[in-house]
């Protein structure tokens, strides 16, 4: 499969980090691809990538920027993500928006474990990526990836809604190249 999946009509060349996705595709297709089932996969992925229901794990400032993204001006529903689920069992995507501290660490792990597969995690903002301005603190976890695996990192303090959307589109591109049925068992 080639990397040609356009999101909202934006061509592939407009995105950064295409190399990473190409390597990902190569790895997935290392054992060959089933012609029929991979077409079914494309259909499934088209649907999945356009209805990613997020769970907002908002602990601080970035949560407000997410609210701004969800409101009328920026309108996250253009990406099919306006259905925020507060129950982890109904969510596909966890957006970690804010600082993660020691007291919270077991709880975010528990919420992540309660989410059904396939599931994705976006680390929004400097704190979720690395601890941000509080990196030297005694109570701050230096990056949410110490606790759960992360798919997309969105830098900023807090990231603008536009950067959030860019990150979410990167996630959609990642979802679009995945294989569910067409993947040959090794």
């Amino acid at each position: 499969m080639e990397l040609k999946n356009n999101i909202k009509g934006i061509p592939t060349s407009e995105f950064n980090d295409n190399e990473y996705l190409e390597n990902y595709i190569k790895e997935l297709e290392a054992n060959g691809v089933n012609i029929v089932l991979s077409k079914v996969d494309e259909l499934i992925n088209w649907g999945r990538s356009n209805s990613v229901w997020p769970l907002i794990y908002a602990t601080s400032c970035c949560g407000i920027e997410f609210m701004a993204s969800a409101a009328a001006h920026h309108d996250i529903s253009r990406f099919g993500m306006e259905v925020t689920r507060n129950s982890p069992r109904q969510a596909d995507l966890m957006i970690v928006a804010g600082t993660m501290v020691h007291k919270m660490a077991p709880l975010i792990r528990r919420v992540y474990d309660q989410m059904a597969e396939p599931k994705y995690v976006v680390a929004m903002g400097a704190c979720a990526i690395s601890g941000g301005p509080f990196v030297n603190s005694y109570h701050v976890v230096n990056g949410v990836d110490k606790i759960i695996p992360v798919d997309v990192y969105i830098p900023g303090c807090p990231p603008r809604p536009e950067s959030l959307f860019y990150g979410l589109m990167q996630l959609q591109r990642k979802i679009k190249v995945e294989q569910f049925l067409g993947h040959k068992q090794r």
């Binding site: 602990t59 609210m67 001006h73």
Partner: protein, 543 residues
Amino acid sequence: MENIKKLILNTVPTAVIEEKQKLTVTVDSNKLHLLAKTLRDNAELPFDMLVKLIGMDRGEELGVNYLLCSSTDLSKEIVLKTGTTDRVNPLLYSVTDLFETAHFNEREVYALLGIRFINNPDMRKFFLNADWNGYPLRKDYDANPELNPLSLVSLEMVDIAPRIMETADGKLVEENVNIFEDDDYIINIGPQHPSTHGVMHFRTSLDGEIVKKIDVHSGYIHRGIEKLSENLTYPQILHFTDRLDYLSANINRHGLCMCVEKAGEIEVPERAQYIRTIMDELNRIDSHLLAWACQTNDLGATTAFIYGMREREVILHIFEKICGGRLIINQNVIGGVMFDIYNEFQKDVKSFIVYMRGKLVEYDRFFSHNVIALGRMIGIGNMSKEDAISYAVTGPAGRGSGWSCDIRKHQPYALYDKVDFKEIIRYEGDSYARYMNRLDEIEESLHIIEQLIDNIPAGDICAKTKAIIKLPEGEYYSRVEACRGEFGVFIESRGDKTPYRLKFRSPSMALVSAMPLICKNEKISDFIGIGGSMDYVIPDIDR
């Protein structure tokens, strides 16, 4: 204040009175409660509001500073200091029976400094887990991460509170009390719940759908800002203030800048004062709009949420044009502001004022008199004026209970003594009074901006400061009116370029500490609505 000094010496003859930035009284730990009670109950000028309770590691002794002020005139202030040299088992007397707001603050001091308070009904650690090793704000704290490793094991909730009580014959008794009764039905609201406005954990016991008791657990976003600040220079600390209560970012930063400017005797140019005041008021409108939007959303009106966010976006665009930030606006610096206004700033703000006035009418028409909204706000979450003072609940919530507590009126800073504005006070004390207060305050803020926007004088935007700002030795306090109430800064300087101790007074902590009181005997569904009307921001509490 001369009479107050006499009163202090009559009550405690050994008290040491000093005239610093504030009148400072140092007393022995066993006399503090008596003195605080006398000051609170004196008829001439009752000091009945505990503004800040600051735990301190003073080197050889551990101590507490209490900033008291009078609820009738917030500019009358007095500082009480006490301490103990016992670093192994430090004990002080609690003032929780005098000022309810001390309860959470004393628990915070226990978690961060290890001082336990005799007669506090509940001496659990506030921010940190019970098994946390060491007391972070002590100067000899061992920050080795191996002592407190990251654990992913969920802890059992233990509803047993240790405490130390003094019996009638003066003996100290350590005991454990159960917070809930054995057959209580308890539900957890939070820490990750969309309606708690952040990561707050309310353990709520219910009788049917009536709330019986609420136990507040905090610290799920405790970042240790006060400890971090002790190793940073003053300009470096500024960015932390924005991330406390991020919705009143500019005002918090104004508070810290003012404190440093007062201590370092830095004169702020008038143009900077104008820009600061206008930005503060725009920030207040922004915050109140978001509060309005979230409260309506909590009451089930999703459309209203979209409306509030739409108007807020207009302000954010002005912020973006002036300094590039939307939520965190790095505008204030020590000595002035970082960026000058742009050419069309006045035009943008004036057109916003006209636009916003029209929208306020619209809000009033479609939500403020809606029968469902009225039914869920009027008479719900009542707080009396006495409770508001005892819990130190300031801001729109305190003024909704009939307490005049606007720092802008009582202790004018920046340009607030030059502009004409009303302090919005309502006397009902319910959710609706707090709701209406916010909408009216938006109108007052527009009025303040209107008076200033055409008169911005020419000149510098920032005073020249030394490359390294060192504050002279001393204790410095400043208080500003943030969007949720009074925001305070305390700096103890030992003449260094970094503060020896920095403490922020967060308005939201007082709001949350009053939640168990005002939600008692209300329905569980109204708990969410009351929370929306109090409008607390959790990272402000946890710091």
